[in-house]
Structures are given as structure tokens and as C-alpha cells.
Homo-oligomer: 223 residues x 2
Amino acid sequence: MATAGKVDRPQVDRVDRVDRVDRVDRVDKVEERRRELADAALQTLSALGYARTSLREIAQNSAFSHGVLHYYFRDKVDLITYCVRRYKAVCVQRYDQIVATARTPEGLAQGFADGLVATLVADAHMHRLWYDLRSQALFEDSFRADVLEIDSTLERMIWRIVSRYAELTGSPVLTGESMTYAMFDGLFQQALLRHLAGQEGAEVHLHASVRRLIDQVVPATSR
Amino acid sequence: MATAGKVDRPQVDRVDRVDRVDRVDRVDKVEERRRELADAALQTLSALGYARTSLREIAQNSAFSHGVLHYYFRDKVDLITYCVRRYKAVCVQRYDQIVATARTPEGLAQGFADGLVATLVADAHMHRLWYDLRSQALFEDSFRADVLEIDSTLERMIWRIVSRYAELTGSPVLTGESMTYAMFDGLFQQALLRHLAGQEGAEVHLHASVRRLIDQVVPATSR
DNA sequence: GCGGATTCTGGACGACTGTCAAGATTTTGA
DNA sequence: TCAAAATCTTGACAGTCGTCCAGAATCCGC
């Protein structure tokens, strides 16, 4: 009868070690199931888009029936919000491995451009979901806070790469954090639409324009 | 009984002047009603977003009942597609007046930045609809062709401004047509989200970053 | 002003939606 | 092992959706 959201156990008299471990296990289990359902939701959303995704469809892409969604999530907005947050986790881990390795500025720039093109092709459905949800945030303020937070995360991610590049070249970065992100995001979004539309040059064009934007944002030092 | 789409009149024996005028009048009248309904649809869509807009809601924002929509449009996709096309017409006329007047590069750059900020604030709902529909095109290929065409139109519009600016300063433009558009679009989209989220600095930040991007794309000549 | 074509209304349809709750099933703790 | 708690299934609910259609209302040439 109790919903999973509020993990309240009546007998909280003796809070010994065992009980605490139990509770953590319980919470972890609930959280794990939530993640499982959210992943099914993300898969469905990235395939159909926000406007055409129903709870029953999500449930069919999971191992459970549609009723269980209301056991782990208050309502649809709660589920989608959780999905948006989860998306961030998947997203950040994806990008950060790009920066870690490179030592030369050329290697970093090339690795960055390569990485963007690679994820453009490999994760196109996930990326279009992001742009779809961000568009929803223009209308529904339920998602807005989370979307803005993810945007900030991506912003910092781009900034880490660009400022690292500037550090390696010894030049300053001409644009601010958010402006830099906005421009790269614009390039990526354009490439995504073209890629999904089947335009052949999309990937190559993205690669070239990313390389060019890097050089534009941190000017080449003549040496 | 006949639907308005296929304007077929049985008696086409004597195609005289009067008949021809008649037909034109008929077509114009149907087209006018289509535009009227499409405008109601655009108003509704820009208020609610694609996912939450129903045909009945659109009809309520017009002077007609919901049945008439299927008299002038085959189905929902047909209506929305028509709306997307109509959006372009509204859109282009809006921007082109920005360029026409300016004579000095400074005037043009300032007018451009001012214009973008002005439309960001005044037409925020229309702009968020555009980004919403463009996101839909990532999923539904019904809209894709029209969306891509509108994107090209906007691309050329931006290019006209930037290349005119370059012409006035005597410097070349460093980036291509589509890359230039993508970057400005990224800036604008970021500003739109922040503006709708109520962040105060959004407009000022857009203005500053647009000015900066202009100078970045066509380098200042020292003279 | 009449008669046919055009335009519009409003209701009905089947399908689908989010939400909920009663009960079956499984897990858990003593 | 057994009862209670947690978890899951299933069916039902009140709406809303896009679509269609019979007929009312309007327009227009004669």
C-alpha cells in the first residue's frame, strides 16, 4: 500500500547497525528500480519524442506493467524530471573521457572534434531527446530548473576543454563560458538535424566547423 | 461535400475571363481561410507547445468549430505543416527590415544586436514554437523538409547581414554561411531559454555576445 | 427569391491517455 | 514457517484525442 517514494518504516525505535544497513539496502533497491524504469523511459523518449511517448509505451519497453510506474513515480512529470536528471549522468560520463588523455593542443582539438562527431552518429537519438526536452522547458517550467542545470553542466564541460586547449597553446580564450558553449551547441544541433535528415556532409561539416571555432575562440599564437 | 483542398469545379467547358476570375476568387478565399486557421493554430502552438496542442484547442482560438479544420486540412500533420510554412512568411518579413536602413558598420552591428534582443523579448512565444517544431523535425520526417527550408532561409538572412557588415568594413568573413548561422542561432536559443526562465541578464548578455561574435566572424581592420 | 454548391456546426465513434485501486504475488524478518 | 510488508498485475475510471459525417446555415448565380 505504501508508495516507494517515502521509504518510511514504522518501527524506528532501535536504530542499530543492522537496521541502518537495511534501510540503505532498501533505498538502494528502490533507487535501482527507478533507474531501470527511467532507462526504459529514456529509450522510449529518444525513439518517439516527448509528444508521442505514453506511460504504457514506456512500460512495454521495460520488464514491468504500466501500473508500476505510479508505484515508483508520483506522476508523469515526476518520471520525466527524473529522466532528465538521469540523462545528465549518462551524458557527462560520456564526454569527460575526451579531455583526459590529450597532451598536445592539436591532439586535444582533434580529439574533441572527433568525439563530437562520434557521439553525433552513435548517440543521435539521445541527443535529439535532449533538444526535445530542452524545448519542452521553454513551455513547462516543471523541467526548467533541471534543464538549466544540465545546460550549466554541459557549459562547464565545454569550458574545461576549451580552457585546457588555451592552456596548452598559451593563448587566452576570447569568449566567456556560456557564450562558448552556446556556439558549439549551435553547431552540434545543426549537425544533428542534418545527420538525421540523411545529409551526407553533416559529420564532416561538424568536424571542420568545430575545429574552426576552436581556433576562433582561442587565437593561434605565431611561434 | 467536396473538401476545400481539391478545388474541382465540374463545369469547365467554357474557360472565359469571368470563369477564371471566379476560380481565382475561390482559391483566394479558401487560401484566406486556411491562413486564418493557421494563424489561430500558430497562436495556440506558441502558447502551449506542440505536445499539448489539440485541434479542439486551436478551433477555440479561432472563430470556428473544430470540425472545420478537417474541411480545410487533410489531417493534423497537414495543418501543422502549413503552419510551419506560414511561420516562415511571418518570420522573414520581421527580420529583413533590420538590415535595410544601416549605412555604417557600427550602425548595422548595433541594429542587428538591438533587433535580435527586441524580437527575443517581443516574440518569445513565437521563437520557442520554432525551436519546438524544429525539435519535432528530429523525430517526424513529415516536418523535416519544411524545417530545413526555413533553416536555410534564416541562414541566408543572417548571411546577408554579416556579409553586408563585412562589405562595409572591408574585411572578409572568416566563417561559411551555415556555420555563421549555427553560432548566432546557438546564442539566440540560449538567450531565449534564459529569458523565459526569468533570468535578468539574458537580454544584455545576448546583445554583448552577438556584438562579440560579429567581430569574431569578421575581424576588425586596424585603420 | 429560388436551388444548388459551398461552408460550417456539433455530435458521435473508437482509440488512447494518465491515474488509481483492489487484489495477486513475492520478499522479508522473526 | 508464517504473517506482514513490499512489490507488481490487472482492469477500470473519466477525459481527451483525431477523425468523420449528417445535416444546418450560408453564399451565389440565375
